[in-house]
Protein backbone atom coordinates (compact mmCIF):
# COMPACT_ATOMS: atom_id res chain seq x y z
CA UNK A 1 0.00 0.00 0.00
CA UNK A 2 1.22 3.48 -0.76
CA UNK A 3 1.59 6.30 1.73
CA UNK A 4 3.40 4.16 4.25
CA UNK A 5 6.26 5.79 6.09
CA UNK A 6 8.63 5.10 8.89
CA UNK A 7 10.34 7.25 11.47
CA UNK A 8 13.32 5.59 13.02
CA UNK A 9 16.84 5.92 14.23
CA UNK A 10 19.69 3.52 14.85
CA UNK A 11 22.71 3.38 17.13
CA UNK A 12 21.25 6.16 19.24
CA UNK A 13 22.32 7.24 22.69
CA UNK A 14 19.31 7.74 24.94
CA UNK A 15 19.14 10.75 27.16
CA UNK A 16 17.01 9.28 29.97
CA UNK A 17 13.54 7.81 30.42
CA UNK A 18 12.22 9.93 27.63
CA UNK A 19 10.25 9.84 24.40
CA UNK A 20 11.83 7.63 21.74
CA UNK A 21 9.51 8.42 18.84
CA UNK A 22 6.80 11.08 18.66
CA UNK A 23 4.26 11.70 15.89
CA UNK A 24 1.69 14.46 15.77
CA UNK A 25 -0.88 14.37 13.01
CA UNK A 26 -1.53 17.40 10.85
CA UNK A 27 -4.55 19.62 11.15
CA UNK A 28 -7.76 18.63 9.36
CA UNK A 29 -8.44 18.04 6.56
CA UNK A 30 -5.12 16.21 6.17
CA UNK A 31 -4.51 12.49 6.41
CA UNK A 32 -5.13 10.49 9.55
CA UNK A 33 -2.09 8.68 10.93
CA UNK A 34 -2.52 4.94 11.47
CA UNK A 35 0.43 3.42 13.30
CA UNK A 36 1.15 -0.08 12.08
CA UNK A 37 4.26 -1.02 14.00
CA UNK A 38 6.53 0.05 16.85
CA UNK A 39 9.96 -1.37 17.53
CA UNK A 40 12.75 -0.84 20.01
CA UNK A 41 15.99 -2.65 20.76
CA UNK A 42 19.64 -2.22 21.55
CA UNK A 43 22.91 -3.91 20.65
CA UNK A 44 25.33 -2.58 23.27
CA UNK A 45 24.37 -4.31 26.49
CA UNK A 46 25.01 -8.06 26.33
CA UNK A 47 23.54 -8.65 29.78
CA UNK A 48 19.97 -9.83 30.17
CA UNK A 49 17.74 -7.12 31.62
CA UNK A 50 14.06 -6.28 31.52
CA UNK A 51 12.95 -2.87 30.29
CA UNK A 52 9.55 -1.19 30.46
CA UNK A 53 8.17 0.35 27.31
CA UNK A 54 5.08 2.50 26.87
CA UNK A 55 2.93 3.94 24.11
CA UNK A 56 1.24 7.15 25.17
CA UNK A 57 -0.22 10.39 23.99
CA UNK A 58 0.84 13.84 25.09
CA UNK A 59 -1.11 17.09 24.78
CA UNK A 60 -0.57 20.85 24.98
CA UNK A 61 3.15 20.92 25.67
CA UNK A 62 5.27 18.46 23.74
CA UNK A 63 8.70 16.90 24.13
CA UNK A 64 11.83 18.49 22.73
CA UNK A 65 12.99 16.05 20.09
CA UNK A 66 15.60 15.34 17.49
CA UNK A 67 14.05 16.12 14.14
CA UNK A 68 13.27 13.02 12.04
CA UNK A 69 11.70 13.23 8.61
CA UNK A 70 9.37 10.33 7.79
CA UNK A 71 10.90 8.16 5.08
CA UNK A 72 8.79 6.48 2.48
CA UNK A 73 8.65 2.81 3.31
CA UNK A 74 8.18 1.70 -0.27
CA UNK A 75 11.05 2.84 -2.41
CA UNK A 76 9.02 3.70 -5.45
CA UNK A 77 6.20 5.41 -3.59
CA UNK A 78 6.51 9.01 -4.75
CA UNK A 79 4.28 10.39 -2.01
CA UNK A 80 5.75 12.56 0.71
CA UNK A 81 4.40 12.38 4.23
CA UNK A 82 2.24 15.18 5.54
CA UNK A 83 4.43 15.07 8.65
CA UNK A 84 7.76 16.88 8.61
CA UNK A 85 10.74 16.45 10.87
CA UNK A 86 10.77 18.88 13.76
CA UNK A 87 12.13 19.32 17.26
CA UNK A 88 8.98 20.77 18.81
CA UNK A 89 6.37 18.02 18.52
CA UNK A 90 3.73 20.38 17.14
CA UNK A 91 0.95 19.31 14.80
CA UNK A 92 2.22 17.88 11.53
CA UNK A 93 5.63 16.91 12.84
CA UNK A 94 7.70 13.88 13.75
CA UNK A 95 10.78 13.47 15.90
CA UNK A 96 12.84 10.98 17.87
CA UNK A 97 14.91 10.67 21.04
CA UNK A 98 13.70 13.57 23.14
CA UNK A 99 16.00 15.54 25.40
CA UNK A 100 13.21 17.04 27.51
CA UNK A 101 9.69 15.76 28.03
CA UNK A 102 8.11 19.09 28.95
CA UNK A 103 4.94 19.40 30.97
CA UNK A 104 2.22 18.23 28.62
CA UNK A 105 -0.24 15.79 30.15
CA UNK A 106 0.42 12.19 29.13
CA UNK A 107 -2.11 9.39 28.70
CA UNK A 108 -0.96 5.81 28.69
CA UNK A 109 -2.18 3.72 25.78
CA UNK A 110 -0.15 0.53 26.08
CA UNK A 111 2.44 -0.72 28.55
CA UNK A 112 4.74 -3.66 28.07
CA UNK A 113 8.17 -4.95 29.04
CA UNK A 114 10.87 -6.72 27.12
CA UNK A 115 14.31 -8.20 27.49
CA UNK A 116 16.91 -5.86 26.07
CA UNK A 117 18.70 -8.79 24.44
CA UNK A 118 15.64 -9.58 22.35
CA UNK A 119 14.21 -6.14 21.61
CA UNK A 120 10.53 -5.31 21.34
CA UNK A 121 8.29 -5.44 18.30
CA UNK A 122 4.63 -4.49 18.44
CA UNK A 123 2.59 -5.35 15.39
CA UNK A 124 -1.06 -4.74 16.20
CA UNK A 125 -3.67 -6.64 14.28
CA UNK A 126 -5.69 -4.22 12.17
CA UNK A 127 -8.51 -3.52 14.66
CA UNK A 128 -5.91 -2.69 17.30
CA UNK A 129 -3.87 -0.15 15.41
CA UNK A 130 -3.60 3.31 16.93
CA UNK A 131 -5.08 6.02 14.76
CA UNK A 132 -4.28 9.66 15.34
CA UNK A 133 -6.89 11.53 13.32
CA UNK A 134 -6.11 14.72 11.48
CA UNK A 135 -6.53 17.61 13.85
CA UNK A 136 -5.90 15.46 16.91
CA UNK A 137 -4.70 17.74 19.70
CA UNK A 138 -2.32 15.14 21.10
CA UNK A 139 0.76 13.55 19.67
CA UNK A 140 1.43 9.84 20.06
CA UNK A 141 4.77 8.40 21.02
CA UNK A 142 6.78 5.54 22.43
CA UNK A 143 8.88 5.99 25.55
CA UNK A 144 10.96 4.10 28.04
CA UNK A 145 9.16 4.97 31.29
CA UNK A 146 12.14 3.85 33.35
CA UNK A 147 15.80 4.54 32.78
CA UNK A 148 17.65 2.03 30.64
CA UNK A 149 20.63 0.09 31.96
CA UNK A 150 22.84 1.00 29.02
CA UNK A 151 22.12 4.18 27.10
CA UNK A 152 24.08 3.47 23.91
CA UNK A 153 23.39 1.40 20.83
CA UNK A 154 19.62 1.78 20.63
CA UNK A 155 17.50 1.42 17.51
CA UNK A 156 13.82 2.28 17.55
CA UNK A 157 11.07 3.58 15.34
CA UNK A 158 7.56 3.25 14.10
CA UNK A 159 5.82 2.58 10.84
CA UNK A 160 2.63 4.40 9.93
CA UNK A 161 0.40 4.98 7.00
CA UNK A 162 -1.66 7.97 6.05
CA UNK A 163 -5.32 7.18 5.51
Amino acid sequence: MAREFNVSTGNATLQGSLMLVFLHSSGAPAFNIEILRWWCGQAANATSAQQFIRIESQVTSFPTLTSATPASLKRQDANVSTLVGSTNGFAGTAGVNSSTDNAGSKTQILDDAFNVLNGWLQVPTPPETIVAPAGYASGVGMRTPTSVATTTGWAFGCQFREV
Binding site: W120, L121, V123, P126
Partner: protein, 127 residues
Protein backbone atom coordinates in the same frame (compact mmCIF):
# COMPACT_ATOMS: atom_id res chain seq x y z
CA UNK B 1 -1.30 -6.14 -2.36
CA UNK B 2 1.50 -8.59 -2.55
CA UNK B 3 4.73 -6.70 -2.60
CA UNK B 4 6.71 -9.62 -3.94
CA UNK B 5 5.39 -11.91 -6.64
CA UNK B 6 4.79 -15.26 -4.99
CA UNK B 7 6.09 -18.15 -7.02
CA UNK B 8 5.72 -21.58 -5.47
CA UNK B 9 5.49 -20.08 -2.02
CA UNK B 10 8.60 -17.97 -2.44
CA UNK B 11 8.83 -14.30 -3.24
CA UNK B 12 10.37 -13.38 -6.55
CA UNK B 13 12.70 -10.43 -5.98
CA UNK B 14 12.34 -7.83 -8.65
CA UNK B 15 13.58 -4.29 -8.38
CA UNK B 16 10.70 -3.23 -10.59
CA UNK B 17 8.11 -4.24 -8.01
CA UNK B 18 7.07 -0.76 -6.95
CA UNK B 19 5.74 -1.24 -3.48
CA UNK B 20 8.36 -3.26 -1.71
CA UNK B 21 10.23 -1.85 1.26
CA UNK B 22 13.36 -3.69 0.11
CA UNK B 23 15.41 -3.29 -3.05
CA UNK B 24 16.47 -6.48 -4.81
CA UNK B 25 15.65 -8.25 -1.59
CA UNK B 26 17.98 -6.08 0.48
CA UNK B 27 16.78 -3.65 3.13
CA UNK B 28 18.50 -0.31 3.60
CA UNK B 29 20.31 -0.83 6.89
CA UNK B 30 20.70 2.90 7.38
CA UNK B 31 16.93 3.26 7.28
CA UNK B 32 16.26 0.05 9.21
CA UNK B 33 19.12 -0.02 11.66
CA UNK B 34 17.59 -2.77 13.75
CA UNK B 35 18.12 -5.23 10.89
CA UNK B 36 21.88 -4.72 10.95
CA UNK B 37 23.85 -7.76 12.18
CA UNK B 38 25.13 -7.19 15.69
CA UNK B 39 28.61 -7.69 17.05
CA UNK B 40 29.93 -10.97 18.42
CA UNK B 41 29.57 -9.60 21.94
CA UNK B 42 25.81 -10.17 21.75
CA UNK B 43 24.78 -13.63 22.92
CA UNK B 44 22.84 -16.23 20.99
CA UNK B 45 19.14 -15.78 21.63
CA UNK B 46 17.58 -18.00 24.28
CA UNK B 47 15.31 -20.84 23.28
CA UNK B 48 11.59 -20.23 22.75
CA UNK B 49 12.03 -16.56 21.97
CA UNK B 50 9.52 -15.59 19.29
CA UNK B 51 9.12 -12.63 16.94
CA UNK B 52 6.83 -10.86 17.72
CA UNK B 53 6.97 -9.74 20.54
CA UNK B 54 10.77 -9.97 20.33
CA UNK B 55 12.34 -7.75 17.70
CA UNK B 56 15.11 -10.10 16.61
CA UNK B 57 16.74 -13.48 17.03
CA UNK B 58 20.48 -14.12 16.88
CA UNK B 59 21.27 -17.67 15.91
CA UNK B 60 24.42 -19.68 16.54
CA UNK B 61 25.98 -18.25 13.35
CA UNK B 62 25.40 -14.75 14.74
CA UNK B 63 22.88 -14.13 11.97
CA UNK B 64 20.14 -11.67 12.85
CA UNK B 65 16.56 -12.65 12.04
CA UNK B 66 13.60 -10.31 12.09
CA UNK B 67 10.35 -9.54 10.31
CA UNK B 68 10.41 -7.21 7.33
CA UNK B 69 7.78 -4.76 6.19
CA UNK B 70 6.33 -6.41 3.10
CA UNK B 71 3.06 -8.17 3.64
CA UNK B 72 0.14 -9.68 1.86
CA UNK B 73 -2.69 -7.17 1.99
CA UNK B 74 -5.33 -9.88 1.76
CA UNK B 75 -3.97 -11.61 4.82
CA UNK B 76 -3.67 -8.30 6.61
CA UNK B 77 -7.35 -7.64 6.15
CA UNK B 78 -8.27 -10.90 7.84
CA UNK B 79 -5.97 -10.18 10.74
CA UNK B 80 -3.75 -13.11 9.78
CA UNK B 81 -0.92 -10.93 8.65
CA UNK B 82 2.30 -12.36 7.32
CA UNK B 83 5.53 -10.44 6.81
CA UNK B 84 8.67 -11.28 4.94
CA UNK B 85 11.36 -13.16 6.85
CA UNK B 86 14.60 -11.17 6.95
CA UNK B 87 18.07 -12.53 7.73
CA UNK B 88 20.90 -10.00 8.13
CA UNK B 89 18.82 -7.39 6.36
CA UNK B 90 18.08 -9.56 3.34
CA UNK B 91 14.73 -11.11 2.47
CA UNK B 92 14.80 -14.88 2.58
CA UNK B 93 11.85 -15.24 0.22
CA UNK B 94 9.49 -16.60 2.84
CA UNK B 95 6.61 -14.96 4.63
CA UNK B 96 5.43 -15.85 8.12
CA UNK B 97 3.49 -14.75 11.16
CA UNK B 98 5.98 -15.89 13.81
CA UNK B 99 9.71 -16.58 13.85
CA UNK B 100 10.83 -18.76 16.75
CA UNK B 101 14.20 -19.95 17.99
CA UNK B 102 13.98 -23.39 19.48
CA UNK B 103 16.52 -26.15 20.05
CA UNK B 104 19.11 -24.16 18.15
CA UNK B 105 16.90 -23.92 15.08
CA UNK B 106 15.09 -21.00 13.53
CA UNK B 107 11.57 -21.90 12.46
CA UNK B 108 8.66 -19.95 11.08
CA UNK B 109 4.89 -20.27 11.32
CA UNK B 110 3.01 -19.31 8.22
CA UNK B 111 0.93 -20.33 5.26
CA UNK B 112 2.49 -22.80 2.89
CA UNK B 113 0.43 -24.40 0.17
CA UNK B 114 -2.86 -23.24 1.65
CA UNK B 115 -2.28 -24.41 5.21
CA UNK B 116 -0.36 -22.95 8.09
CA UNK B 117 2.53 -24.94 9.49
CA UNK B 118 5.94 -24.72 11.09
CA UNK B 119 8.94 -24.82 8.79
CA UNK B 120 12.54 -25.04 10.00
CA UNK B 121 15.58 -23.36 8.50
CA UNK B 122 18.01 -26.00 7.27
CA UNK B 123 20.84 -23.58 6.54
CA UNK B 124 19.58 -22.72 3.07
CA UNK B 125 15.81 -22.52 3.16
CA UNK B 126 12.77 -23.30 5.28
CA UNK B 127 11.41 -26.82 4.96
Amino acid sequence: MISGLMVGGHAHFDAKIPLSAAWNGQYNLNQFGFMRPQGPHMPVTEAYVAIPPALWIRDSENALWTLGFDYDEREWRTGKFEYDVVRNGRKTGDFCRVIEYRAGKVRIWGADGGTCKWRTFNGRCFV
